[in-house]
């Protein structure tokens, strides 16, 4: 027990046994953390490649919540609420399915299909149309918040020209990782009266230029489940039991290591100051400031991408 206590103190605090610098902060230990993290990520990547069926993550995204949150934002910005339209919903579903089948993450498909072609193919004769995309979010509120935080998506979401909307919330595999795609299609039919004065000639609200993401070539088959009847998302049921969420695992390990190092650096600073130890080493305060920035980023960066 005494030996364990001595070993802990040697690892965590500055003492004569560790040259007055906690063993946890020695060069050898930092290198060990990097190697262990590399190994950990290698294992996760291996699991994703060879046992993808045990990967997954919990989502709570529903069409009802997306519609309510969208209309709440529109109300705050003086725009009339959107009504759910079956044809726009069908267009959104077709777009989501197309993205999984052809494995792309973009407004225009590798085959050159733009969002408007999905809308017209669904039989919706539009005066105005728009599209927002999102993936990898855990809940509806985060999706709508992310769209509102992006100027171009916000423009679509609160645009008073739109009267109707369709949603698709689809689980599937993109780049070998399980993901949830959200497609939001906006529209106003020809002959409808939007809340702003329409221009004399019918026009399409064009999406702002966005960077194209690299797309995979060829098509791959991928499992997916479409369910917008009762507005819930069903994860692909490839086996039962515990599912591994790679993002949450990576975040948890990174947070734990960062918090541990901040604690050790803080302890080092306090003890060296109290004991008035003279030593030549890097500044614990500087290292601690860097790790605090890392802690902030790890806590603030959430999962999910919008396009």
């Amino acid at each position: 027990m005494k030996n364990l206590g001595e070993k802990l103190l040697h690892f965590l605090t500055p003492r004569h046994t560790n040259n007055h610098r906690a063993k946890a902060l020695h060069l050898s230990s930092i290198s060990t953390y990097i190697v262990l993290l590399l190994l950990f990520q290698g294992i996760l990547t291996g699991v994703a490649k060879f046992k993808p069926e045990i990967l997954g993550y919990a989502t709570n995204i529903t069409v009802t919540d997306l519609l309510n949150d969208t209309n709440a934002e529109r109300a705050k910005n003086g725009a009339s609420p959107l009504t759910l339209n079956d044809k726009l919903t069908a267009a959104a579903q077709a777009k989501a399915a197309d993205m999984f089948v052809h494995q792309y993450w973009a407004h225009t498909s590798p085959q050159g299909r733009d969002p408007w072609s999905f809308i017209t193919a669904a039989g919706y004769n539009y005066l105005y149309a728009g599209e927002n995309l999102a993936r990898d979010f855990a809940d509806s509120a985060s999706v709508v918040q992310a769209w509102m935080n992006s100027p171009s998506h916000r423009e679509n979401l609160v645009n008073p020209r739109y009267l109707e909307v369709g949603f698709a919330v689809v689980n599937g595999k993109y780049n070998n990782y399980e993901t949830t795609l959200v497609v939001q299609m906006f529209g106003t039919r020809q002959g409808a009266t939007p809340t702003v004065v329409a221009p004399e000639t019918p026009s399409v609200v064009t999406l702002p230029e966005l960077p194209e993401n690299p797309q995979t070539d060829g098509t791959r088959s991928s499992g997916m489940i479409l369910n917008t009847n009762n507005n819930t998302v069903i994860p692909p049921s490839a086996g039962s039991g515990l599912k591994l969420d790679i993002f949450q695992l990576t975040k948890a390990v990174s947070l734990a290591l960062t918090a541990f190092l901040i604690f050790v650096l803080g302890t080092d600073m306090v003890l060296v100051y109290k004991r008035k130890t003279v030593r030549i080493s890097g500044h614990s305060l500087a290292h601690m400031m860097l790790f605090i920035v890392l802690l902030i980023v790890l806590n603030l960066v959430g999962r999910g991408v919008v396009l």
Partner: protein, 85 residues
């Protein structure tokens, strides 16, 4: 006077970290730019460490390696995390 320089140096470090934090937020819709920002943060941190210890006249190879390893660890954690998003 030495204390003043120390405060100024840490003030400079705080500015570097604040700029990096803002950069990571500004590029929140572009993961590649965020990764470049993380790399720039690591490089800036090492440069700051060298500059600060040169001024304190106690820069050694061991201290230089310490700053590199800390920066490498932080950049690695950030990079992996951003790629998993």
């Amino acid at each position: 006077m030495r204390k003043v320089f120390k405060v100024l140096d840490f003030g400079l470090l705080a500015i570097i970290l604040a700029v990096a934090l803002y950069g990571l937020y500004y590029f929140r819709f572009n993961i590649l730019s965020q990764i470049f920002t993380a790399l720039a943060l690591g490089a800036a941190y090492v440069l700051w460490g060298v500059y600060h210890h040169l001024r304190e006249r106690n820069l050694t190879g061991k201290i230089f390696l310490e700053y590199i390893s800390i920066a490498a660890l932080v950049v690695f954690i950030l990079g992996v995390f951003l790629l998993r998003v």
